[in-house]
Amino acid sequence: MADYVLEVKNVDKVYGQGDTEVYALRNLSFSVKRGEFMLIVGSSGSGKSTLLNMIGLLDRPTRGKVIIDGIDTSELNDNELSTFRNSKLGFIFQFSNLLSDLTVLENVTLPRKIQGTIQNSADEAKTLLKTVGLENQMHKFGNQISGGQAQRVAITRALIAKPAIVLADEPTGNLDSVSAETTVQLLKSLNRKLYQTFIIVTHDRHQFGEVDKVVTIKDGRILKEEMEANLV
């Protein structure tokens, strides 16, 4: 039996009611195995970010189920969803979204503080920051580092709580080409090194080169689902 870390089953997301009803996502189903590096691609307005919000439990589907690590998340209340997001999911946003009033180190350890597992968290954060080459920036505030550096901090923040899945929404969308390439390589190396599942939303599929799986979304539907064997 396959070790699925994520199963999306018949997910609809509908905005509005009656005549104004708009389907942002329509009957989406796919699954992701543990350790896979997966892309969700599509043009602007295709519904890929909406889908990421469903997978990230930041929004609820109108119909269907999102099962993460074998747990049907539609059954969870608001507090349980928060706890679940904290323990099972790591987020990397387009605009890094560091808390500018916290230092780099404090930003990275924040998920662990929320989790209440602060023991060794600073040491682990320092190790991770060293991995991404930011060991000398850890006492700077979030707004005192470059965009590329901030995105690398966001990656370590996403990893600190050892989540089942790391979700990234256009992680290179706000970076120059050099920083974007560095970020892509970093994500892929972490995927291999940590056997960490990554689901990345992007409009630039080619930037990521070889990946395990690509789901292409168009008008809220899956247009194409390609596995490793079919990918060039």
Binding site: L99, E106, I114
Partner: protein, 398 residues
């Protein structure tokens, strides 16, 4: 440190403008309450002080509806044996008429209060002798008088050494005309009933009123004013006779008529101060709402990475606690500085009555705690609004 406290503190301390504005709002509210307290409580205490020093002492002994016929010498000696009693002195209050010049017109038979005092004992039990202006002296020999500044003015400014004629009525209603020599002129700050009076030797007044050996009141000064009820009770227990019909009152009782009005006034002024405090709470609400707006994206991020609604609530409550603590600290410094200034400069009310300025630490603490609690309460609504933000919307809006 709890991460919610850390974030709350950072949110507000790294927005100096918001922190200064919110803390100042709290501090100014405390300052208003403190200034009110210094002025109006100081005025109240000054009136109590003067009532004690000039008119009633800490315990005021009279005889119901009549003069005291027991020997004042005996009563004073008995009272002075009580350890808390510093001194006691007999007095007689009466009235006399003078021919005064008011506004350039001669007014005949203008009535003035007359206070008969014992020249020796009164100096121990009262500070009234200190109100005599330089160049004069307190009543000493039998036909000497000290006139109040207002009476002196109404008499056309007679000087020390001049004589004045006072017309009394004795206890049988007979007019008695007496010429007395001015030995001093009082200038009482605030005119607490003395600047419009005449002070004279009690024995002379007894003789004029035909009340030999009688006394109207005995004012008792205590070394420990908190024992006033004990002294009062001891005295009444020692002289329970129906024939004596003694009445003993603490200052709160004897000056009740004067003080009750002031107490209501102070309550009203305090209410104004507390309304000021409510205004500061509204300022805190506004600033906290601005904070929530400016931190919407951060709230979204926190929620996305697992913070619960109550965690967001606590962040802004901690922020309110920082505002409350800094505001209370600043308010205390400002309030205490003002109090020190008022004390050092011997601040007066309307340029006359010196305020009785005290460091009322209990009141300061109460005000601080109230301001702190209000700042926290004022943070609840903005904090609640922050918890209502959905992560996706918050990150999009921010």
């Amino acid at each position: 440190m709890d991460y919610r406290a850390q974030i709350g503190i950072r949110f507000i301390t790294r927005r100096r403008g918001s922190l200064i504005a919110a803390s100042l709002a709290v501090a100014i509210a405390i300052l208003v309450v403190q200034v009110n307290s210094v002025i109006f409580q100081g005025l109240y205490d000054a009136i109590v002080r003067d009532q004690i020093n000039y008119r009633f002492g800490h315990v005021y002994i009279t005889r119901q509806e009549d003069f005291i016929t027991k020997s004042d010498f005996m009563l004073v000696n008995w009272l002075e044996r009580i350890p808390y009693v510093q001194a006691a002195a007999p007095r007689i209050d009466s009235a006399a008429s003078i021919n005064a010049t008011i506004g350039g017109k001669i007014i005949r038979d203008y009535s003035v209060p007359v206070i008969g005092v014992d020249p020796v004992l009164d100096r121990e039990a009262s500070t009234m002798y200190q109100t005599v202006a330089p160049g004069g002296q307190y009543v000493s020999y039998r036909d000497s008088v000290v006139v109040g500044a207002i009476v002196d003015r109404d008499l056309g400014y007679p000087q020390v050494g001049d004589t004045i004629k006072l017309k009394f009525k004795d206890q049988f209603g007979q007019d008695i005309l007496r010429r007395l020599t001015i030995v001093g002129i009082t200038a009482t700050a605030g005119s607490v009933g003395l600047d419009n009076s005449v002070i004279m030797n009690i024995d002379t007044l007894r003789e004029i009123l035909d009340r030999p050996h009688q006394t109207q009141s005995i004012l008792v000064k205590l070394s420990d004013p908190t024992k006033d009820t004990d002294v009062k009770d001891l005295f009444l227990a020692a002289f329970p006779s129906n024939a004596d019909k003694f009445k003993a009152q603490t200052i709160e009782e004897s000056a009740e008529q004067t003080l009750s009005g002031f107490r209501s006034g102070i309550a009203l002024i305090n209410l104004v101060g507390y309304f000021g405090m409510m205004s500061s709470a509204f300022a805190v609400v506004t600033i906290q709402m601005m904070q929530v707006t400016s931190k919407t994206r951060d709230i979204g991020v926190m929620r996305a990475i697992g913070a619960k609604r109550k965690d967001v609530l606590l962040v802004f409550i901690f922020q309110g606690m920082v505002i409350g603590a800094i505001g209370a600290g600043l308010g205390t410094v400002m309030g205490v500085t003002y109090t020190a200034y008022a004390k050092e400069t011997h601040m007066t009310f309307q340029g006359s009555l010196p305020l009785e300025v005290k460091y009322n630490w209990t009141s300061i603490m109460q005000t601080d705690i109230m301001a702190f609690v209000l700042a926290v309460i004022a943070s609840i609504y903005p904090a609640y609004k922050a918890t209502r933000l959905e992560p996706v919307e918050a990150m999009r809006v921010g």
